[in-house]
């Protein structure tokens, strides 16, 4: 009689391409990228970081109600996005705006969403950072944790039925793997043979819950086997490793019609959100260490510069240009009118129901009768 031990003696090793200094590790499996792709990846990582910093500050100034950053996880965002095709359908958790950025969502669109103005694609329906774009195959972010996981399996099933050369890609954090939906999704995906890639951003923290309190397994990668799912652990702060692994995972998912699990180890440098102060539960030293010495952006920059594809000057120019664009976008977004009152009542159903049509009419009449009690910056 032999019980399988609760954990292996050695932890599952982590796939890496670049070392901490951005030097290529000899003998590593590496998907060569062109200068064009590398520079695009790097500049998007920088753009994401600058966007987060500027918008975070704007929230602190009280210009909108909420924000959450992706600082420290730029390599996962951009590395994975670059490895996918435009047809791959993304179901994010909420710390993956980089994928939307990569696909062409503009800084102005991001700003419009957080300011919930008339130009927002989401018609001001959602709180900040809950972006989405049907056009870019990125589903609108939904707050409940891990609900996107079984949904991704459903999407993958649809793709399989259409025989499309595409897969569903669902992101979650380490905390999300505790939800029942994680279990149901993985189990079901394996049984259904659905072409879905599950990418878990294991960033060490779920608000103040450290991973040691979230689960007792060796991270997330070992859970894949329990469901009959092929899995890999990758260094999430190594943009090239993420790129290589996700590309391979995608290939397997589509050609073999199977789910694949990618655990990307990283660190959440920022607070959980603007409603959190993480210095209350972790040390400043720890945050600082991961922010500077383990920064995914610096690491990738070292490699790109070593290829002769980037320079200090281009860095300065890029950063100041992005910052300027963002400040401009914020100004424009802030000045733009709020959504018209009619958007309160639309989209509840495919066809507006009679009770809402009636209420809208009544509301408009009241506004006409008492215009002084109605805000001037909200169009009717």
């Amino acid at each position: 009689m032999r019980f399988i031990p609760e954990s292996s003696e050695k932890r599952v090793p982590c796939f890496r391409v670049l070392d901490d200094n951005g030097e290529l590790i000899k003998g590593s499996d590496f998907q060569q990228v062109s200068k064009e792709v590398a520079v695009k990846m790097y500049s998007h990582m920088v753009t994401l970081q600058v966007m987060d910093s500027v918008l975070y500050e704007a929230q602190r100034q009280g210009r909108f109600s909420f924000y959450l950053t992706t600082i420290g996880e730029e390599a996962i965002n951009i590395g994975s996005a670059a490895a996918l095709s435009a047809d791959d359908f993304i179901l994010p958790q909420y710390r993956e705006p980089g994928v939307l950025l990569w696909r062409g969502y503009t800084l102005q669109q991001f700003a419009n969403q957080v300011f919930a103005n008339k130009a927002d694609d989401g018609k001001g329906r959602q709180m900040p950072i809950h972006y989405g774009s049907k056009k870019l195959n990125y589903i609108t972010i939904s707050s409940p944790i891990a609900t996107q996981l079984p949904q991704a399996v459903g999407v993958a099933y649809s793709l399989k039925m259409e025989k499309k050369d595409a897969c569903a890609v669902a992101y979650t954090g380490d905390g999300g793997t505790s939800e029942g939906d994680f279990h149901a999704a993985l189990n079901f995906a394996a049984v259904m043979e659905a072409p879905v890639v599950f990418i878990c951003r294991n960033n060490g923290w779920a608000i103040s819950t450290n991973i040691s309190e979230q689960f007792r397994s060796d991270g997330i990668v070992v859970k894949g086997r329990a469901y009959g799912i092929r899995s890999i652990r990758v260094d999430g702060n190594d943009a090239l490793a993420v790129y290589t692994a996700v590309q391979a995972a995608r290939e397997m998912a589509i050609s073999e019609k199977r789910p694949v699990l990618v655990e990307a180890l990283t660190y959440r440098v920022g607070h959980h959100s603007t409603s959190d102060d993480s210095t209350k539960y972790r040390t400043l030293d720890e945050i600082e260490y991961w922010k500077t010495e383990r920064s995914p952006i610096n690491r990738f920059r070292n490699w790109v510069e070593r290829q002769g594809w980037w320079s200090e000057q281009e860095e300065t120019e890029l950063r100041s240009s992005i910052k300027k664009q963002l400040l401009q976008a914020i100004q424009v977004a802030e000045k733009t009118e709020k959504p018209a009152i009619t958007e309160l009542f639309s989209d509840v159903y495919d066809v507006p129901p009679s009770n809402l049509a009636e209420q809208e009419k009544q509301l408009k009449e009241i506004i006409q009768t008492y215009p002084q009690d109605y805000p001037t910056d909200v169009p009717v």
């Binding site: 359908f89 079984p150 399996v153 459903g154 999407v155 099933y157 129901p353």
Partner: protein, 391 residues
Amino acid sequence: MVLLLAVNMVTRAGFSLKQLKMWGIIRQKVAAGGGSPVARIRPVVSNLRNYSSAVKQMMVREALNSALDEEMSADPKVFLMGEEVGEYQGAYKISKGLLEKYGPERVLDTPITEAGFTGIGVGAAYYGLKPVVEFMTFNFSMQAIDHIINSAAKSNYMSSGQISVPIVFRGPNGAAAGVGAQHSHCYAAWYASVPGLKVLSPYSSEDARGLLKAAIRDPDPVVFLENELLYGESFPVSAEVLDSSFCLPIGKAKIEREGKDVTITAFSKIVGLSLKAAEILAKEGISAEVINLRSIRPLDRSTINASVRKTNRLVTVEEGFPQHGVGAEICASVIEESFSYLDAPVERIAGADVPMPYAANLERMAVPQVEDIVRAAKRACYRSVPMAAAA
């Protein structure tokens, strides 16, 4: 002879001898109608005498099955998903024959995870398929309610019209017989309170066919509340109903019986009890109008109010719990819109405010019976005998 036939029909429909005994269908001696209290419980075998009529009879089970079959045949995007829907032919045989006809890609047997398959169904709907998700009973939908509310109902609104969710959630709802608290809850009021959902509840086979077809074709998420005890009940269906293009409008109630003295609103199984109550009331000179709601959300307020304006009296009946129930909403609507037409206070009959007990005698006391409806209608007509009756 008739009793044997009844037992035969009913056992073939999947009911056990135990259940039949409990309903008083099999007894030591046959009471000649109106005898012991047990004789009143006869939800299933009511219309067996009408065999020889020229109009076709169809069981609700068959109505649902044929509706699913026709919609799956007409639209390749429609598919069925749930526990036991395939190989087992459906826990209540509603999906009988469909796996064989359409194959495992369109009739999916799922692992036991309501949260899982509901989430998957919603995801498939996001991407353009039209899933019909079956819950073995709506009691189990509690394990998936987050996906129904947060992932399905609100998506079209929250995504500003980019994500539509053409999904149908169906299954038996409300009290069955002898199945206890966790198998008897009525969720009509719960789901009907959510904007973004449509909630339907059929009574007859015509309702079952027409409303299920409408639900499958509708681009919004629809919660379709069936009733286990109605599955084996037969109703007459016309040629129009049998046609594959037949469809009923969502949001329209049906006046099952016209009357002029009191309006009785009901849905699902209770419509049958209300019609029986109307018969009894007619003998006492009270002409009751029975409205079969069919659609809980949107609620057909105009039909209900028009009826109350005609009769001036309202009795709402439902099986579910009284607080925040469907009847509460109907009463509020009538008071808001037709207050000056009311000649009596509104009467609200609902299930007892307790989790459903198992013991047969207690269960009987926990759901509305025909007499409760009759008494309420009389009270509304100021015809009741003034004594402290346990209403």
